[in-house]
């Protein structure tokens, strides 16, 4: 296998940050090469197999081959580093063509204008490295709309207090079918003077080209989609790019080094192929979108005379201000035997969605200072139908003791057949801070012998305070609905799939890695288009914003390559 051509664009990664660049530049007639570290799983390779989806390392690397190191506070209050090979806790997501967009639930929300100006709107917070974005909501709005059309977002726009400005009146795809519980949430929330909103999803509710409508499989998040309704980068964008004849994808190509030419310009990407052989390719422009942690790692690994601290890192900012989505989860149980038979059947109906979100609390009043502070979002959803995962969560009783024997079997039968759990997820800003960053571990290596990412995961206590306010609101709704066993768990533990920052963009080259165009301040033919660019993350999931920004950067690249 020989690749000796010089491409216009080399894209490293193939998920949400990569797909729009691949799509737009291929369609514009530029030669695009995609280097993806994972394999190409086709739609027909996916099934609703819990073994492959969650029980074994199929869509993520084996941690023996590719560990990471996580640095967390121990009981003594000291930072303690542990290999993920020891703990089993890691930050890998969807290592395959299309990346984690293959396995997302597709809960989509735009950032709001205030999210671009967090610092100037609410002021400094001690211990947080807040920064305004160098662009405004208006700069991104046309690209949010583009994602709705091209990737496909279904939903219904309803007026509400924090509705972000839109250039179109409604979504191009109508809302997906809903479970009866959605109307119960609406009623309970209305009784508390809280407005619920239909939750947009990156899932087609009607056919689009080669992609079929959602068939309500009941196994969406964590699973590849078998109808291509889910707006993965693979089916929505890379398939289309391949049709142009301008796009080449090399799966199982792990990029480990970006080489400059001695004049602050990138000239080659070096990668290991599926056989572990070292290969390189040349391109005019390089776009890195390997998901935030691995993007920072790649830059830090790419050291040379010009960049002794890593590529584009002479200011020491690469890897800094990593962020996640703050918040937590909660839920409550509804017992079938307390309901009319028809209502119980409707509640138990699998497949159809809950799709309710609340943004009434996107801004709050601080309980002590009484100043306005940024709040967040509440999403409602059913407990995932994965049966093994459900059973594992029921392994311990209320006192924390292991269940086994007859009590276990009786409890499992009761849990699976007599109730349905409605959950909520809280999304708040993860304040960037000095104790949340990526560096290279000096001891642990991956299977290729390269240093792995060391991730310090410190959170700001403000995140917990905001999360708990929102969790109380969500719990009140569940109480009003008559749920049992209501709980909430807000913590500073980061979710592994919602990561951003590390190469923040900004106008000041001393405090940011990228400029407003997501172009490296120090390397003019290096662009970063995954979530790494985000200085703050808003109080929603990131994927729509990453998709939109990548479309924005694609337009910039088209101008540059002319």
């Amino acid at each position: 296998m020989i690749v000796d051509k010089k491409y216009d664009v080399c894209v490293i990664g193939s998920g949400a940050g990569a797909g729009p660049v691949i799509y737009e530049l291929s369609k514009a007639g530029y030669s695009v090469l995609v280097l993806e570290k994972g394999p190409w799983y086709r739609t027909k390779d996916f099934s609703k197999d819990e073994m492959a989806a969650t029980r074994r390392s199929v869509y993520t690397p084996n941690l023996k081959d590719e560990p990471q190191v996580i640095e967390d506070l121990n009981e003594q209050g000291e930072w303690e580093a542990k290999s993920t090979y020891e703990t089993g806790r890691d930050f890998w997501n969807g290592n395959c063509v299309g990346g984690s967009t293959n396995f997302m639930s597709g809960y989509f929300a735009r950032l709001k204008p205030v999210d671009f100006k967090l610092l100037s709107t609410y002021g400094e917070i001690e211990g947080a490295n807040l920064a305004d974005w160098p662009i405004d909501y208006d700069d991104l709005e046309p690209y949010y709309e583009k994602v709705e059309r091209i990737v496909g977002v279904s939903g219904k726009v309803v007026p509400h207090k924090y509705l972000e400005p839109r250039s179109t009146p409604d979504f191009p795809y109508p809302p997906l079918k809903e479970n009866i519980v959605s109307s119960w949430i609406d009623q309970a929330a209305a009784g508390l003077n809280i407005q619920t909103i239909p939750l947009p999803r990156a899932i087609l509710s009607k056919k689009k080209g080669d992609r079929q409508s959602c068939y309500y499989s009941n196994f969406c998040g964590s699973y590849g989609c078998s109808s291509d309704a889910k707006g993965s980068s693979r089916v929505a964008l890379i398939h289309e790019a391949l049709k142009t004849g301008n796009c080449t994808v090399i799966p199982n190509a792990k990029v480990y080094y970006l080489e400059t030419n001695g004049r602050y310009q990138l000239q080659k990407a070096w990668y290991y192929d599926a056989d572990g052989q070292k290969k390189s390719i040349e391109a005019r422009v390089f776009v890195v979108a390997a998901q935030a942690i691995e993007t920072s790692r790649l830059l830090l690994m790419s050291k040379n005379k010009e960049f002794s601290n890593g590529l584009a890192n002479n200011n020491g900012q690469v890897g800094k201000n990593l962020i996640f989505s703050g918040g937590g989860v909660g839920g409550g149980d509804f017992y079938y035997d307390e309901l009319d038979e028809n209502l119980a059947k409707a509640l138990a109906k699998p497949g159809v969605f809950v799709n309710r979100t609340i943004q009434d609390f996107y801004e709050l009043v601080h309980p002590k200072t009484h100043q306005k502070i940024k709040g967040g979002t509440i999403d409602f959803l059913f407990e995932h139908a994965n049966p093994v995962s459900k059973a594992i969560r029921e392994k311990w009783d209320e006192d924390g003791h292991l269940r086994y024997g007859k009590p276990l079997k009786k409890h499992l039968h009761y849990y699976f057949t007599k109730l349905r759990k409605l959950k909520f997820e809280i999304f708040v800003d993860w304040l960037p801070n000095d104790n949340c960053f990526v560096s290279l571990d000096s001891h642990v290596k991956d299977k290729w012998g390269d240093p792995v990412a060391k991730i310090r995961i410190g959170h700001h206590p403000h995140d917990i305070m905001v999360g708990e306010v929102l969790a109380e609101k969500a719990k009140q709704i569940l109480v009003k609905m008559g749920a049992h066993n209501i709980y909430a768990a807000i913590s500073g533990a980061p979710p592994n799939n919602l990561q951003a920052g590390g190469c923040r963009f900004g106008n000041n080259p001393k405090t940011s890695v990228l400029n407003a165009q997501c172009q490296a301040h120090e390397v003019s033919n290096l662009f970063i288009t995954d979530g790494s660019f985000m200085p703050t993350g808003g109080s929603v999931t990131y994927t729509w914003t990453i998709y939109a920004n990548s479309f924005r950067v694609a337009d910039i690249l088209k101008q540059m390559l002319k």
Partner: protein, 178 residues
């Protein structure tokens, strides 16, 4: 039911010399029957092929060898606990005393972890797709009224065969190649 006589392959013989593979298998079966007993026509260990599933886990080259060894070591440690508490082998104990011993070790750190791991593997045998030669005739799904998603997994896209895609050295330039 499939049964694989391959525990020997997993063993570090230095620290397991007093507990033979066949004895370990017997202890494991005994423990699984306590964790997930037969009653009221609920699926039992044999119907879900749990021992086969655990044996396959123990010989899976993609599973952390330390985790595999921990499962095997647990049978040895349980037998040692039987001697400490009742002066005899686990398998020689009455059903009541076996239950008591499981209760005792469930409050010890290693014991809780070991039993928890066995329960996780039992749940997999109960509730993963029967394509893996477990959950025979969907007995686990039927018992818990679980509806599987579709499409169901089939060869060659089941674990571990699906991982062969990770070994492909290919260049994709058109959809027709997929």
């Amino acid at each position: 039911m499939l049964q694989f006589p391959f525990w020997q392959a997993c063993q570090n013989t230095n620290n397991l010399d007093k507990t033979s593979p066949s004895l370990q298998q017997a202890i494991l079966s005994g423990v699984l029957n306590i964790l997930f007993p037969t009653f009221d026509k609920t699926p039992d260990i044999r119907q879900i092929n749990a021992v086969y599933h655990i044996n396959r886990y123990l010989t899976d080259p993609l599973i952390d060898p330390d985790e595999q060894q921990f499962i095997i070591n647990g049978t040895k440690w349980l037998n040692e606990s039987a001697h400490e508490n009742f002066k005899t082998d686990f398998l020689q104990l009455s059903a009541k005393k076996q239950q008591k011993l499981i209760q005792i070790i469930s409050h010890e750190s290693w014991g809780e972890s070991w039993l928890s791991k066995l329960l996780t593997l039992t749940f997999e045998a109960l509730l993963l797709d029967p394509v893996y030669d477990i959950n025979i005739n969907e007995c686990g799904w039927k018992w818990l009224q679980h509806l599987p998603g579709r499409p169901r997994p089939d060869q060659p896209n089941i674990y571990p065969d699906i991982l062969d895609r990770k070994k492909e050295n290919i260049i994709i330039t058109g959809l027709e190649q997929l």
